[in-house]
Point group: C2
C-alpha cells in the first residue's frame, strides 16, 4: 500500500476517478452514526439461532422461553442469552405469566426484514 506524501494516510494520493461524484455520493451517504445503528440491527440477525428464534416469534406471535427452545431445537441457556441480546436491542418484548416468560417481536423494522427475507428464501431455487 502506498502512503500519501501529502496527507500521510494510505489513500489514493489526490486523483479521484470522479471528484464530483465522490463528493455527491459522500454527501448523501448514511452518516456514521446511522451506519452504526443499522449494523447493530443487522448484527442481531447475524446468528442462525437468533434468526430462527425471531422467525419462530414471527410465526407464533408469542412464545415462552421453554417453547422457543423446543421449536428451535436448542437449550434454554442459548435462548436466554439470545433473548437478552434481542431484548436489550429492542427487537423483542417480554411478559411474565407465572413461571413463564413470553416473548414477542417488538420492532417493525426487524419484522419487515424477516418477512421479506423469508419471501426471498421462497423465491430462491437453489443458487447461492
Amino acid at each position: 500500500m502506498q502512503v500519501s506524501p501529502v496527507t500521510g494516510i494510505d489513500r489514493c494520493v489526490e486523483t479521484r476517478i470522479d471528484e464530483g461524484r465522490v463528493e455527491s455520493v459522500a454527501a448523501s451517504l448514511v452518516s456514521l452514526d446511522e451506519a452504526v445503528d443499522l449494523a447493530e440491527m443487522f448484527r442481531l440477525l447475524g446468528d442462525p439461532t437468533r434468526v430462527r428464534i425471531l422467525y419462530a416469534l414471527l410465526e407464533a406471535g408469542e412464545l415462552c422461553v421453554c417453547d422457543i427452545a423446543a421449536v428451535v431445537d436448542t437449550n434454554e441457556t442459548k435462548v436466554s442469552q439470545a433473548m437478552r441480546l434481542l431484548r436489550s436491542a429492542g427487537a423483542v418484548r417480554n411478559r411474565r405469566d407465572g413461571r413463564n416468560v413470553f416473548y414477542r417481536l417488538d420492532d417493525a423494522h426487524v419484522r419487515m426484514l424477516l418477512d421479506l427475507s423469508r419471501e426471498h428464501l421462497a423465491h430462491t431455487v437453489g443458487d447461492d
Copy 2:
C-alpha cells in the same frame, strides 16, 4: 438451570405451554440451513464500514476502491478487506479497468435490504 431427568438435556422437562402450536411452528420454521444462509447474509451488513460501502455502491452504482475509501472516509486496506468479504459472499461484483478496480452491487436481496432500511431510517424520527 434444571437438567431434565428424562431426556438429560437442559430443556423444559415435558410440559409445553402448547404442544400443538410448538409442533406447528416448528414445522413451518425456516430450516437450520436456511437460517445459516440468512444469518451469513445479515452478518455481511453487521459492520458499519461495510454498510456504508454498500450504501455508497447503492447510490453511485459503481465505484473504484480508491473512491470508495474517499466516500466512506476510511483507508484502502479496510475497503479491500471488506470487498473481499463482500465479493466472496456474492454481494458485489468487480471489474478491472486499468489500474482501477470497480465494484458494484450484485445481489438483489442485499440491495432490497439496504433500500428498505434506508427508508426506515428516513421514517425514524429519533427513537431507537
